[in-house]
């Protein structure tokens, strides 16, 4: 029975721990918090997971909340534009694409705490300890493989930044998350749940995502503000109530169509808000310990993208699935640094398109992307394809980045749909108010 140490009890660390455990590995998991502390603590993230990532959880029979979490059947995009009245905004783009397989969001406080309990219940060794370099230095000699999955903690800095794969040197958004109850139904399509990306050109984005949280169904209101811009107003906010007030003020100002649904919302609990900012960074996957031992980085230790495309939890799940396969395939052979590097590169094939797309979305959109997003309002297949790109960002390579490919795709899609003029009137420009 091969002995493996995993540091970090988030999506990637726990998914790997439970996966390896189910395959008969002797797994020790280090978490800096207990399951109860996680459950009663602060929200950690937004985490809409799309079909591929959910399948990875289903493969391991870890989809314990699938029947209770809202099914996110679609993904909508709105683009805000200045309204006729000065100071107001209305929608210049408004569409919803249909997801081939539904997405789901389970508050990580619920999921990670539950998974931690299950890991321990199944005989896994759970050590409650915030690991330091000295711990790993010693333990790396006692385990055949040490995996560091402690996302943005102290240990992540053991892994050097890969400059060639990290185009940004500073945070590109300031993040402000609020979990709320009482959001009204979405009038565009009240018959199904969807997540909605509201783009406010030059200022940032608002994401609205149905989720399961500790107190049942809820919605996440997540502002991403360009640093220094009008949405970057949460830095000094400490009070959760004040956080919600500012969130709603921004909704009213920039996305009045969302504000109309949000007049009765309240925070789900005292720990329902989160503020932060970090630099999107890809790191070298092999960390070197002072004694010379090597450890392998997992999930957002190695690939930390901005949440603007909601890929974090998805990549964490994909990373865990990819590493699990690589570890099992290794059989009894040593987990040396060459294997570690190859294991990461295998995952990078999946992570690279997601990273490229996410980094592109942080920059001002070029004309062909604006054209594409606009066309999705007239052409349902275009909307559907963009929506499903959140599940498989590799598809964007075929129609998103290159202006010639994007234009050709829009043209072909228009021809396939028939008369463009007719299509234009089927989707309005939204409920400007």
């Amino acid at each position: 029975m091969r002995r493996i140490l995993i540091v970090g009890a988030g999506q990637s660390g726990l998914q790997l721990a439970l996966g390896l455990q189910s395959k008969g590995y002797d797994v020790t998991l280090m978490s800096h918090r207990t399951a109860d502390e996680t459950r009663s603590g602060r929200v950690m993230s937004t985490q809409v997971m799309f079909a591929t990532a959910l399948d990875h959880e289903r493969d391991l029979k870890l989809n314990f909340w699938e029947n209770r979490a809202p099914r996110i059947e679609g993904l909508g995009v709105s683009v805000a534009g200045p309204a006729r009245e000065p100071g107001g905004y209305h929608r210049t783009v408004d569409w919803a694409g249909s997801l081939d397989g539904y997405a789901q969001s389970v508050d990580q406080r619920v999921k990670m705490a539950g998974w931690m309990d299950v890991f321990a219940e199944r005989g896994g060794r759970l050590v409650i300890h915030g690991a330091a370099v000295s711990d790993l230095d010693f333990l790396s000699r006692r385990y055949e493989l040490v995996l560091v999955a402690a996302g943005k903690g102290e240990l992540a800095s053991m892994f050097g930044r890969d400059a060639a794969r990290s185009p940004y040197a500073a945070p590109q958004r300031s993040l402000a998350v609020a979990y709320v109850h009482g959001l009204g139904p979405r009038h565009e399509h009240p018959e199904y749940d969807a997540m909605r990306c509201n783009l406010v050109p030059g200022a940032g984005e608002l994401f609205v995502m149905p989720t399961l949280t500790t107190s049942g169904h809820a919605d996440i209101l997540f502002w991403e503000g360009i640093p220094g811009g009008p949405i970057d107003v949460f830095q000094d906010v400490r009070d959760p109530g004040e956080h919600l007030v500012r969130t709603l003020e921004l909704l009213e100002r920039f996305t009045p169509w969302e504000y109309a649904r949000a007049t009765k919302v309240e925070l789900t609990d005292a720990n329902a808000t989160l503020v932060g900012r970090y630099t999107p960074t890809v790191r070298h996957p092999v960390g070197r310990l002072p004694s010379g031992g090597a450890v392998l980085g997992v999930g957002d230790v190695v690939v930390a993208n901005d949440p603007v495309t909601g890929q974090g939890a998805n990549l964490a799940a994909k990373c865990a699935a990819s590493y699990l396969e690589a570890i099992v395939a290794r059989g009894g052979a040593p987990f040396d640094t060459a294997w570690m590097q190859a294991t990461f590169e295998r995952f990078w094939a999946t992570a690279r398109p997601a990273t490229k797309w996410t980094n592109a979305m942080l920059a001002p959109p070029p004309p062909h992307v604006l054209n594409l997003v606009g066309a999705a309002g007239r052409l349902q297949p275009v909307a559907d394809r963009i929506a499903n790109g959140f599940d498989d960002p590799a598809d964007f390579e075929h129609f998103f980045f290159d202006s010639a490919k994007a234009d050709a795709y829009v043209r072909d899609a228009g021809e396939a749909e028939g008369d463009l003029e007719e299509g234009e009137v089927t989707e309005g420009t939204g409920d400007a108010d």
């Binding site: 800096h32 918090r33 207990t34 502390e37 409650i128 300890h129 915030g130 330091a132 370099v133 000295s134 711990d135 230095d137 943005k152 903690g153 102290e154 240990l155 992540a156 800095s157 053991m158 050097g160 930044r161 040197a169 500073a170 945070p171 900012r277 970090y278 630099t279 960074t281 070197r288 002072p290 930390a304």
Partner: protein, 204 residues
């Protein structure tokens, strides 16, 4: 042990409870936090029945935020020490005092220490008052009872506890005490103040 002088790790004669492995006393703890050189180890040593012991953790140098990482060379590490002492209150009750560095970047060590603690003594030096701000923020955020102990250093200006309270924006129920960390009675008084305050805050 022989005639060897008390070295770190030499804990002297065992307490009675240590040799009876059929049962253990209740173990409880108090956290002593504060900036570098504020007198945490002196405080612990003044009441501890053992020479204060030290656990060390090697950490990466950068941890305040990943934003700063760009300039940090790989493998840069630093050592953080945590000194602690022990008081046998009776045969069935042992109190540990854990001194912990006050910087925010050591939050993960605090999480560990705060779990199940009675409360915290935040040691302040009025010459470097800002160094205790992160500890106050932290203990407030996790709801741990705490008091502020102003360690008086000779040759420094004395401030009235009320001035310190005001500067630190402390709620009225948080005690501010002047102490001399070298004096056992002074340290015991501070601990008593903390435990009384924790008792006031504890649910009936």
């Amino acid at each position: 042990m022989g005639a060897k002088a008390a070295a770190p790790g030499d804990e002297g004669e065992p307490q009675g409870w240590q040799t009876d492995r059929s049962k253990a006393p209740v173990a409880t703890k108090i956290v002593v936090a504060g900036g570098f050189g504020v007198g945490k180890t002196t405080f612990v040593g003044s009441v501890s029945e053992i020479t204060p012991l030290r656990t060390e953790a090697v950490m990466t140098v950068a941890s305040e935020g990943l934003d700063d990482l760009v300039a940090i060379p790989e493998k840069a590490t630093t050592t953080v020490a945590m000194d602690f002492g022990r008081i046998t209150l009776d045969a069935e009750l042992v109190l540990y005092l854990f001194g912990t560095p006050g910087q925010k970047r050591f939050w993960f060590m605090w999480d560990d220490l705060v779990r199940g603690a009675i409360g915290a003594v935040v040691m302040a030096d009025t010459r470097r008052l800002t160094e205790c701000f992160p500890a106050l923020d932290y203990f407030e955020s996790c709801g741990l009872p705490y008091i502020v102990a102003v360690n008086h250093f000779e040759g420094t200006a004395r401030y009235a506890p009320e001035d310190v309270r005001e500067a630190l924006s402390l709620p009225s129920y948080v005690a501010v005490v002047d102490i001399d960390a070298r004096r056992r009675e002074s340290v015991v008084d501070a601990l008593l103040t903390l435990v009384r305050q924790a008792l006031d805050a504890a649910p009936a």
